[in-house]
Each structure stands twice: as C-alpha cells, then as structure tokens.
Subunit: 454 residues, 3 copies
C-alpha cells in the first residue's frame, strides 16, 4: 500500500489533467477556438459587455495609440453572428499623425472628438478629407491611408468598426514606412528582390523605408498640417463623388435627430443618407441621453448594435432568453420553459456593448452628466427599433379586443399602464439611485452554457 | 503484483477516460460543437432523415404546441451548409391563439391545415391576415405577432422555416406578455427601470404583463375571433402592398402545378411568384403523390430541400457519394474510388428530410393513401430539378453519337431503357412491396466519417 | 519500487496520451477541424504554398486524371476566408473524354493547354462549346457535363476553381453512367425503384448504366469527336446568349493585357468582360513573366488570389504580419509590436499558391524560361492591385510635404529610390541567383500559432 500511496499523486495528476483537457475542449467549443482560450475566463458574466480590460493596444507611442476590442468569439459563442467585426478606437495627440498603413479589413470611421485630416491613396487617385466631430467615412480594405490630428490643442478620437475578410475577426496592419516597431513590410523581401524592384541598392531602399524610429505615430509640424489640410475637402462641402457615389465623409449631426426631446436626442445615419454604408450593410447612430434620463426599453428587429460609450456614466440592462434548453434544475420534471434573465452593467467612457437582435435593452444616464453612446449597426438594412414603453410602445398598436385576449388584467388597468408614459424613445429616468443587481427581480446569470434558446 | 492488480482498474479507467475525451473531440468536430454532443448518437444512420425524436417541444400547453427540429449541425457536419436554418411545426387547437411573440429569426410560414388569423405588429402599422391551407407568409425577424386558430373545430397546423441570425441555428423567442412559462421579458428589467419606462408603479406594470397563467397558448372567445378576422385581409384578395412589395400571404395552390398527371401533382412557388421570398432566397414546393405512385429519381442542382411529410406513408431513397476519401479497406491498395450508397427511410406524418444539392433522390407513396410532402428550398435561385428517369430524363438529351461514346451497352438497349417510361416527374410506383433495406444493392451506411467526397 | 517501475511505462503512456490529446485539440482548433488533422503536419512551413503532395487524385485512369488541392482549412486556419473553394486540374490524353458527371459545386474552368469540346446538359437545352487555350467557362453546380480532348496528339489541361455549397470545401462527383470505379449513382437505388422509374426490368437498367469498365476517362473515336465538335460553338464566335447573358466561353487572350512590356504581360478578365463571373465574384488573371524578369512587389486590396504555376520555374515571396499577438519572447516586456516575416517558395509547374488580401508579394521567373501563372481571384469586385515598386508605386502619390512627414531619410534620397525603377507591373528581375532563404533578412517562420495579427 505504501507503493500505491506513492503512485496516487501521479494518478490524481493524470486524472485531473484529463479532466482539464476535457474542460478545455468544452470551453473552446463555446468560445469558438479563439487564440487565447484561457483569457476568456477574464470576461465578466455579461458576455455582451466589454470593459477596458477587453481592449488590447497593438499600436502605442507617446503620440497616440490604437486600441482594439478582443475578437467577439473569443468572448462567447453567442457572438458568432458578428465574428468578423472588430471595434477599435484611435487616439492621437495634437499635431500627431498615424503613419501610412493599410489593413486587410473594410473600415467605417466615426470622429468622436477633435479634428483630423485623412488621406487615402486609392489606386486611381489620392483623396484628402478634413474630418470633424460626427463625420463618418468608409475606408475600403487595402487602401493605404494616413490620419493627422490637425488640431494643436485637442486630442483626436476616432472610433472604427472593422470588417475582416481573410480570417474572420483577425485584423492585420501593413506599414510600408517603418522602423523597429512597426517594421516596414518592404524589409522582409529578400535583398535581391528589393534591389531589382527599386532598381537601387538594397541599402538605400532600406534606409528610405526603415528609418522611422518614432513608431506608428509621428509628430507633424503645424505648417505641414496647414499645407495638407488646405488641399483637403470636407463633409460640409459637396463631398467628392466618384462614379456617382459619394466617397467623402458624411456628418451625422447634419441629419435631424430621429428622437429629440428634453431627455435627449438620437441621431441615425444609414445607407439612404450615406450610400457608402450600403456595401457593408452598416448604420451609425449616436444617442445623447441627458443626465437622469433613460433610453427606454426597446429592441432591434434585425441588427446587432456594437456600441461604444463615448462620454458619461450610466447603467445598462439587457434581457436575454435562456434556460429553454436545460430547464431541469429546480423546476418540475423535463418540461421546458421560456424565461429570461437580466444582464446589467455600469457604464463609463470607453466601455463596449453589444445588443443582439431581438433582445430588449434600456440605458439610464447617471444624474448630473449627459451620457453619449455611439452605435454601429450590423445587418442594418430593414432593421427596425421596436419600443417597449412610451408613446410608441408596440403594445399600443393592439385594439381592445386583442388586449382582452392576451392581457389577463382588467382593460382599464392595461390602458393605464400602456398610456402613462407620454414621452417616446428617451424618457425621464428612475428617480432614486439604481437598485443593485442583487435586488433585481431578474435572476443572476447562472451559466453561459445554459444560455441556449432552442 | 497484487498491488499492480489493485491499481489496474484505476489505470484502465484513466486510459478509458482519455480515449473517451479524445472521441468526444472527434465527435464534436463532426457535429460542429452543438450543445448536446451526446445526443448526436441518438440520430439514425441516415443523417438526412429526422423522425419524431429529432423534434423538441419548447412551447406546449393543452391548447397547442410548437415543435422544432434539432439544429442540423447537431446531427451531422454534412449539414453545415444549412446550419442557420431550423424547421418548426406549430399546432393550435380550435379557437386557441399563440401569445404575441417575436423571434430573432426570419420566418417563412406555410399553412398545412386549418384556418388562422395572424397579426403582425410592424413598426409603422399593424397588419392582419386570414390564412388558409396553402398560404405562404414571410414574417420578418423581430416582428411581434400572434396567431389564432380561427376555426372552431379543426386543428391548425403551420410549418415554418426559420432563418437564424444571432447565433447560427439558435432560435430565441421573446414574449412581452407572460407569466410563469413563458415569462414576460419585461419582468427581467429592474424595478426602477420598469417604473420609469411606464411612468407607473412597478407592481402595476408587473401585474399587467405577468398575469397570464395559461401559458404560450390561450383560448379565445369566438366572438373576439370574428371581430379580429373581419378586419383581416387574405391571400385571395389583392394582398396588401407596401412600397410596391406584396407583404400579405400567397396561396401555393393558386399556381398551376409544375407537374400534374394521374400519379400526382407538384406545386412550386418562388420569388418570381411571391417576391417576399427573394430576400431569403427560399422557395416552397408541395408534392401530392398518389398512393402507389413515385416521385421519380431526380436531383436539385443548387438547392437544399428541407422537407416535412405532411400526410401519408412512403419510402424514401437518397443516393450519396462516399468512400472517396478513405477507400482503403476491402479494396485494392491506395487507389481512390468513387462510389455511392443508398440512404433510405420509411416515411410517415411529421418526419423531416433534407435533400442536399446534387444528390439523386426518389420517394414512393405507399398504396392506398396519398403522400403529401412540403419542401422548403434553400438557395432557391437558379436551382433546377434534373430528372433522372421518365420522359424528361437528362440522358435523353444525348444524341446517338454521344450515347455510343459513354454507354457501353448496344444503342438499341440504351434507347429502350431511356424511353420505356413515358411519364414525367411523378410516375407509377413499384408494383410489389418495397424490398427491405438489407436486400438492396446499395451498401449499408458504414460510417459518417467515411462520407467525405473529395 | 520494483512494482512502481513496472507501472511507470503505463503511467508515462497515459501521461503522454493525455498530452497528445491536448495537442490534438489545439491543432484542430487552428486547422478548423479538418478530416485529417494529422496530415496538416505534412504541410510546409509556408501555409500559402502547395506542392504536388498537396494534391489528391480522386479520378485516374490511363486516359486521364483529375487532381484536386486539399481543403484550404485542412492546411491552416489562416485560409478560413476561402474554405469553400477548391483548386483542381483535369488532364486528358488525346481523344479521351471525361464521362458525363455533375458536381455539387459551381465551377470556373480555364483551358491551360490543348483543345476540348465540352457539352453541358442544362435543364432546358444542351450546349456544346469548342474550347481552346485561354478559354474561361462557368459551369453551374448540378450541370451534367462531359469534356472531350478533341486533339489527337496534344494533352488537354484544364484548371478549375470549384465553389462548394453543401459542406464548405467538400466536392462530390456524381456519375450516372459508370461501372466499378466510378460507380453509377443509379445502381444504388433499390431494384423496385429502378424498375418503376424506367418501366423496365432492373437487370436491363443496370446493364445500361453500369457497363463502363474503362473508368472515369474513356477513349473516343476521332470520327465521333468530329461529329460532336462540328455542332459546338466557340469563344471566337458570338457566344451563345441566354436571356441576354452570355453563357458560352470567353477567351482571356482576346483582351488587351493590363501590363505589357519587354518583361512580360498580365491579362485580367472580370465580370465586366465576362458577366458569368459575376454570380461567384471571381476574376481570372494570367501572368507571363519572361525568364529573369519579376512581377514587382504589390498587394491585392480585397481579393484572395488562388494561383497555379502553369509553366516554368521561379521564386515567390510573400510578406506576412505576425507576432503582434505574442511578441513577448526576445523583446522588452509586454509591449506588442508589428513586424513581418518573409514566406518564400521555389516554384515549378503544378504548384499552387494563395496570396491573401493585403499581403505584399513578388514573383521572379528563373532565367532562360518564361514563367506562366494562372490566378483565380476570389472577392474580385472592387479589388485593386496596389504596386509597391515601379512607376505606379503607391508612395509616388505622396507630395513633398507628405514625404517629409513620414520618410525620415532626406527628400532627395527618397525621391531617388522611388523613381529609379521606370517600369511598372513586371520589371527586370534580380541579376544574380536568388539568395538562399537563410541569407534573407526576413526572419524564419517560427510558428503558425504566433501568426495572429490582432
């Protein structure tokens, strides 16, 4: 038995190891085999909320940085529907520029704050645009471009929705002019090829393309910025057209807001406003919720909304069906049941959210400060936002006969509840402070695995 | 050695466990990581056939039920091409209604039997349609709608093809008015948000939305049904149009059948008949095969057909290529070979079938009773059905020179065989009873793993 | 302790087994669960290059063969973006024909060498075309067709890009007339069904469809070839149109080359030339690089290029970003970095290449012989080729102000380097022999796992 005892630790290790491998397999199954399965454990219980730890910073110098949200499928298999998209945020200091680069992704840019000049080196020509807050611009995959913060005091902040093509969810940056980090892609070609390509000695070529030791962001003299910005057009001008299609930027705030009242505004731009959004079936929306007001419960019929909290603080709730697949525990027998849970998050600047189609959601702005949220809509065409409270509540479409069939409460009570809120879209928020999650009626999120619908 | 003996069971357990984990991985690989990998073992040897055990019943009360076929990729990786689709069947008692709900999927409905009134609460308006047998209606994702069986004696039976968006193959139902099962999605919002949204005390809101204890199906007084049905339009009327597009139902039996003879009829509707089908690239077909007759061997060029046996009994055969990838066993050396196997199934009401593109298939109706099969076609555009026997047999397109090149039998024998069957589409079935599977010449299905093509 | 020693091998085996299972899981994760995970180890370090061992030969007789490249995702998850495509090469002896067959894939054919007659048995009619070198033809999925080498001395060589539909990346061939290998799909139907379908005794049907013992390729008498070819049309004629759409072949060499100089030519055909390419969003290009010349460094903005070396020898370099995800080792701390590696390959007839979008690439023809490369472009619409050297170099679009911001070398040196090469597209190649890979500046490919972008 002494010998058995000697062996036991080894045996237990083996057993444990086997179980661990099995669990890994499960996790990968739900996480869709991301590169960093272990990291998925860092994610919170709300698979649709992303705090600052969910962003990586592939480009960073003193002059600026590019942050990018983790691959959605690295978080949860529930996000498979948007696996090819990524959300990124570019920040540049006054008078700093991001070096010329191309990505293997299509991009929709939105200027969150500041003033930029962007230059796109398209095959047939070069185009420069002066961008300001609210400008939306599509940059097609493979277009070498550079971005300058043309303001000499304010930070530039640009949000991007990237649509990947090569490997779903994977973004690859290509810098031609580089140094230590980023490198120049030229310097990976062999000596002979570089010399023949440029008809020049290898050393000279490398010197030209590999001398930048400042990194991905460089500081630009103001006089050069003026020179470049002078030749650029802007969204307030006609916007350059190419083959009848407007290629320049479109400013979101030029549109009348979809909702506007004392509680805030919602602005929405889709391909009927800015045709460049059509190729990717994207929309862009921007909600300004006054402090203490609330984006009333609603759902999107078809679109995923990938949102970025731009400014302010707030509270977000999302209602998600679950348990249908595995009710069992704590309920009678094998009967399936349709029930929902509340997923909530406290919001602040820089947080990311995903609102999947069909899921009811509401956002409350914390008192004292406006909450600003930028939303990219994926599968935007034919999407409709259905309001679940307020004047344009979908249940207000029912007539008396219908209400009496489906509502079991007396008609007078039903009408009272449906009609008490006279505002629409954005309404007055909760009066007191938000109850803590544990007080809520919604059950705690028990397990992502049980979140299965049918 | 006694000690070794003591340890052996443990060691064997570990070894077995490791192998099991390895096998799990394999199975998941082929089952594409469905939620219930273990269940895939319940599936029959024919990965394209689905009996009643393949359906789940997420909604069920005394007044009705909704049954839904398992996710296709839960059955086999061979069905990956249709992983985002689900087949469902809704059944409601006379005068019963399915509560207002929205799904995160687009739906194509087909009324198999009975009479319904469906009301769609679209963003801009509410539309009601009286549906009858043969009506096809598209319900866009996220449209809150309810369905009433408006007949006071007959059952209502509706088949649905669901196209999922959020998570491929996963369907999520959202009920606003509920109780214990289904719950109301409203009640998952926190107290403060509900109160602010409705400008009403939380308790009143919950009472209104959460008083339904009858479940997903409720009984409706006949007078209310009359009231609602009176305001509804139907497929025999013009059909409401919205922006030039017909949004109301289209009746399949209004069309002339594609094939019609003493052996049966085939009706087919595509987007040229009913433009609402275009957005999803779906077609709907309905075959009535007289007892003892046969849908002659044919294949679809591009479409997957997802079929539901609506009425009757029959025998189905599907020819599938396999073994090309791993011939090895029982054959000479490493040479690859192209061979086929027969997959067959005995059909009865409620069975599901999938006919993949390119695969030859035939269906025989059992004597004495018509066999009725509903078929949803996926990738419908440009699809062609190629007949492999009968007057419009593709081999009848060859001329004498061609026949003499490819057929090794004498030309007279070839012509005799190709011309003996004068009917087309549906023909007289086999005279005797069907041979049992084991008598057939087709080899038994050896392993799904070997079914690989190249 | 003697007993422990007895057990140790077993324990070690178990431990090893567990680890192996774990590693398998990882590999499958990156290989996306192909059928033959073990085979992925055979692949070279360059996941974008395919030598002869990467091809399988599912059809082969003395008269001809069909070779097909492995599924792309069997090689690497980096190829997931093109997982539904396959590259194949058909070779037939003089006067040999490939038996009538249909595939469950759309096909784009390109005649690499020789003269063929192809007959398509479409639903409504039969069409025959005489094909010659450079002809491109789309064959829709499910179209039964046969191909004859109508030359009595030369080999016929046809390259195909297959787009799969049923199971991504899986191709299934269906032969109606067969024997031992290929079998006829008819013979898998049961006796009773065959007899009823053909209204003929089972034995006669089987004799007609199953008498071919020659295999997939048969020899055709010259007089029959003449007979069939006489009735066929060709790309030099008007080309048959159906509903306004040209369905016949289009000859690539009828177009003016996009680039043409003393170093070679590039021909490109897209859907604006040949509308049949539009449905699949494919383009076809053909580069003739003179011995000693070079396709200068360039990248595709959106398209994957799937290429086949048709003739000659050469050297290929592809620049790929990597290491961004896991820089760590050998670098300071946790900082991420953007760097690139060179993937190279020595090319000869029959090799396959994939150039992913965004990736810089160059090809050098070995002295003494032209190098000919056929390229299928996937995601062809809106694709642009951006040149990284030569007269139309994208960096030549920058003006002085821009160059002075981004290039750190003196303006005169920059201009000297950018302007020294006066040719465009194809330029004079390296003078000496190619340096060996180990001499190159690009780092060796360390690990596919590290190749992750961000």
């Amino acid at each position: 038995m002494a010998k058995l005892a000697t062996l036991l630790p080894l045996l237990l290790f083996l057993l444990t190891a086997s179980l661990v491998f099995s669990r890994n397999t499960d996790r990968e199954q739900y996480g869709e085999g991301g590169e960093h399965p272990a990291e998925s454990e860092q994610s919170s219980n709300n698979p649709f909320f992303f705090d600052e730890k969910s962003f990586r910073t592939p480009l960073k110098t003193r002059e600026g940085n590019l942050r990018i949200l983790d691959r959605f499928t690295q978080r949860s298999h529930l996000l498979r529907g948007i696996e090819k998209y990524r959300l990124a945020v570019l920040e540049a200091n006054p008078n700093a520029a991001l070096m010329p680069t191309h990505y293997d992704t299509d991009e929709i840019l939105f200027v969150v704050a500041g003033r930029a000049t962007i230059t796109l080196m398209r095959k047939e020509n070069k185009e420069s645009y002066n961008l300001r807050k609210g400008d939306i611009l599509r940059v097609e995959a493979g277009t070498t471009h550079y971005i300058i913060n043309r303001h000499n005091k304010e930070q530039l902040l640009i949000a991007k929705l990237l649509e990947t093509m090569s490997v779903p969810g994977q973004v690859q940056p290509f810098f031609g002019i580089g140094g230590r980090n980023p490198e120049s892609y030229y310097t990976s070609f062999s000596k002979n090829i570089l010399e023949a390509a440029f008809n020049t000695e290898d050393e000279k070529v490398r010197k030209v393309f590999q001398e930048n030791q400042e990194g991905a962001f460089v500081s630009v003299p103001q006089e050069k910025i003026r020179q470049i910005a002078q030749q650029a057009s802007s969204s307030s001008e006609e916007g350059r057209t190419h083959g009848g299609r407007r290629r320049g930027p479109f400013n979101l705030f030029e549109k009348h807001p979809t909702y506007s009242n004392q509680h805030g505004q919602i602005y929405e731009v889709d391909s009927s406003d800015y045709p460049a959004l059509q190729a990717q079936d994207i929309s862009v929306a921007y909600a300004i919720i006054r402090g203490g007001s609330m984006l009333a419960p609603y759902y999107n019929s078809k679109a995923f909304k990938v949102a970025l909290v731009v400014d302010g603080k707030g509270h977000w709730e999302l209602v998600s069906p679950y348990g249908s697949a595995r009710s069992g525990e704590g309920r009678e027998s094998q009967e399936e049941s349709v029930s929902y849970q509340r997923l909530s998050a406290e919001l602040s600047d820089g947080n990311g959210l995903v609102v999947p189609p069909g899921h009811p959601s509401a956002i409350v702005a914390e008192g004292g400060q406006d909450l600003r949220v930028l939303c990219f809509g994926i599968n935007a065409e034919e999407n409709q936002e259905h309001r679940l409270a307020g004047r344009d509540n979908i249940y207000n479409k029912m007539n008396k006969a219908e209400r009496e069939i489906f509502f079991k409460a007396p008609e007078t009570e039903v009408r009272e509840v449906l009609n008490a809120q006279r505002d629409a879209g954005i309404v007055e928020g909760p009066k007191g402070s938000q109850e803590s999650e544990s007080e809520g009626r919604g059950r705690a999120f028990q397990s992502i695995l049980g979140f299965a619908g049918f």
